[in-house]
């Protein structure tokens, strides 16, 4: 069933169209069912709002919610950037020697397994600047995938190529720049995808813990407030915004990965 120029496939059977249309149809079906059930069973809006209620709230409360989103995004980006820089530097440090890795890696794991909710109050108490406190919390959440993936990548070098570099008298630096870093890129981008989502989650969780404590009201703060006031449509609207942001971040990372690896790596080839 190969597409031929004479007889093109029906629109729905084309892979690109299917990737877009299938989930859209599925989503619309779900929303319609939700709306219908809410109407049929007369579910009160403070329990489960109809999709139309959420949409209306998104429209009316849009400006204030977008402002809150901006605050959360700022924390997310700062944390993500910090995680990438710190994570990559840590990875380079770890692959320099087995001793360094053996002494530090357990602590990287410790960071990963400690729930940020548990240490966020401490960090918030210790840091005077609330933004810095939130960025630190979100960074802690986003850091580990970058470190572990980059370390894995820097070690996953074709041994034949390593021999070739050795035979040609390559210096440590040449081997790093021309061999280890390019070999590590696919793994690094895998780490980026995971971390970008985690940075957002970290930012939201940290805002939750910080609560109304004087921070510049982010989306998590809006969700808390809406919850207290039983303004459930606004709560859902904020949730929708967070989810959309997460998806957008993922798409950006996927695009970046495709751009950088598309010409050679199996994972990004059509």
């Amino acid at each position: 069933m190969k597409p031929t120029p004479n007889r093109p496939l029906p629109l729905l059977q084309r892979p690109a169209a299917m990737k877009l249309i299938a989930p859209l149809v599925c989503g619309i079906f779900f929303l319609v069912a939700w709306q219908a059930l809410c109407v049929a069973w007369k579910i009160p809006v403070f329990l489960v709002p109809k999709p139309s209620d959420i949409l209306a709230t998104l429209w009316t409360d849009g400006p204030s919610l977008l402002h809150a989103l901006g605050v959360t995004l700022r924390i997310t980006f700062l944390a993500f950037a910090t995680a990438v820089v710190v994570g990559v530097l840590a990875a380079f440090l770890f692959v320099q020697s087995k001793v360094i890795e053996a002494s530090l890696f357990p602590y990287a794991i410790l960071l990963q397994v400690t729930p940020v909710v548990a240490i966020a109050p401490l960090i918030i108490i210790w840091c005077k600047n609330p933004t810095v406190a939130l960025v630190i919390c979100a960074t802690l959440v986003a850091l580990f995938p970058i470190i572990s993936n980059t370390v894995l990548g820097l070690r996953s070098v074709n041994p034949g190529l390593l021999n070739l570099f050795r035979l040609n008298g390559a210096t440590r630096w040449q081997t790093l720049v021309r061999l280890r870093i390019p070999s590590a890129l696919p793994y690094f981008f895998g780490g980026l995808r995971i971390s970008s989502g985690l940075a957002l989650i970290g930012a939201v969780v940290a805002e939750f813990v910080a609560g109304t404590g004087g921070t510049g009201a982010g989306l998590a703060y809006e969700i808390l407030q809406a919850g207290f006031q039983l303004n459930i449509p606004r709560l859902f609207a904020a949730l929708v915004l967070i989810s959309l942001t997460g998806i957008l971040l993922f798409v950006c990372m996927a695009w970046l990965s495709r751009r950088s690896l598309g010409h050679w790596h199996e994972s990004e080839m059509a």
């Binding site: 070739l164 040609n168 021309r178 061999l179 690896l261």
Partner: protein
């Protein structure tokens, strides 16, 4: 070149005359690679090589032929400087390290070992970039090497766009770009299909006959195919396993290596002769007697 000729019909003697297999082997002015009573035992106890002596002269095309485990790859890696012997010593044009000898060696591995993220040109230029050869000269040498292996049109392609045989050609071009005196090849065509292999064998033989820009090219070629060894080499050094040792050192003086050589009587005589010697050396045991 090789003066020693030997009719393939003659009785197989255990050791080829002229170059004794052990002891009394002395390097001379034309010796590029020399192994003196070299032994190799790996940490896990594997006895890969046992007191092996070998002299490789400038311009030789030597095949190291033998079954798996005979230490032929180990010997090649020693000549490349990737491994060192447990006992005995090696000499590169009289020097005790390849770097001190002024001898340029290049190695071609069993796999093409290309960088998948770099185009063909960049892959071939790698050794020159690592050695800080000027960009202009490097480009010239890369173009020449790609021309030699017939891949000039593919300079901007990526390795995955090329077939296995073409990738191997790139690997050979990368070695040629360094303008080597000695080309060390570790079963380079082992993973290719028979037809591609025949073509690459013929092309390699032609490249060797042409010589490099620095004079006669010496090739040390590891293979487990008797046919490939006979077709390619001016000298076949056959080895046996457990422990790795020399069985015979046979000159193949035929000058003409066209496809007609493959179907000639002389070719089959050489092959039969080598098979008999290998059989005799393994004590009449069949392949796989140890399993």
């Amino acid at each position: 070149m090789l003066m020693k000729t030997r009719p393939p019909e003659a009785d197989p003697s255990p050791v080829e005359s002229g170059t004794p297999v052990s002891g009394g082997l002395v390097p001379d002015a034309d010796t590029v690679l020399f192994a003196n009573k070299v032994e190799k035992t790996y940490d896990n106890g594997t006895h890969a090589l046992d007191e092996l002596s070998l002299r490789i002269q400038k311009g030789d095309f030597v095949s190291l032929l033998g079954p798996s485990g005979c230490g032929k790859s180990t010997l090649l890696k020693m000549f490349a400087g990737l491994e060192s012997p447990s006992h005995g010593h090696l000499r590169w044009q009289g020097a005790d390290a390849p770097a001190k000898s002024g001898l340029r060696t290049a190695m071609v591995f069993q796999e093409a070992t290309l960088m998948p993220w770099a185009d063909i040109e960049t892959n071939v230029r790698l050794p020159l970039d690592l050695a800080h050869v000027s960009r202009a000269e490097a480009q010239q040498r890369v173009a020449r090497a790609l021309e030699q292996v017939g891949l000039a049109r593919f300079a901007k392609s990526y390795p995955r766009e090329l077939s296995g045989g073409m990738q191997m050609r790139v690997s050979i071009a990368r070695a040629l770009a360094t303008e080597p005196d000695v080309l060390l090849m570790d079963e380079p065509f082992g993973a290719l299909d028979e037809f591609t292999r025949h073509k690459l064998d013929a092309d390699l033989r032609a490249l060797w006959a042409q010589g490099g820009p620095r004079g006669a090219l010496t090739v040390v070629f590891v293979t487990h195919s008797i046919y490939e060894a006979v077709f390619l080499s001016s000298r076949v050094v056959m080895m046996a396993a457990r422990p790795g040792r020399l069985v015979c050192d046979m000159a193949i003086p035929e000058p003409d290596r066209g496809e007609s050589f493959r179907v000639s009587n002389a070719f089959s005589d050489y092959c039969r002769d080598l098979s008999l010697r290998l059989h005799a050396a393994s004590g009449g045991e069949g392949e796989g007697a140890h399993f």
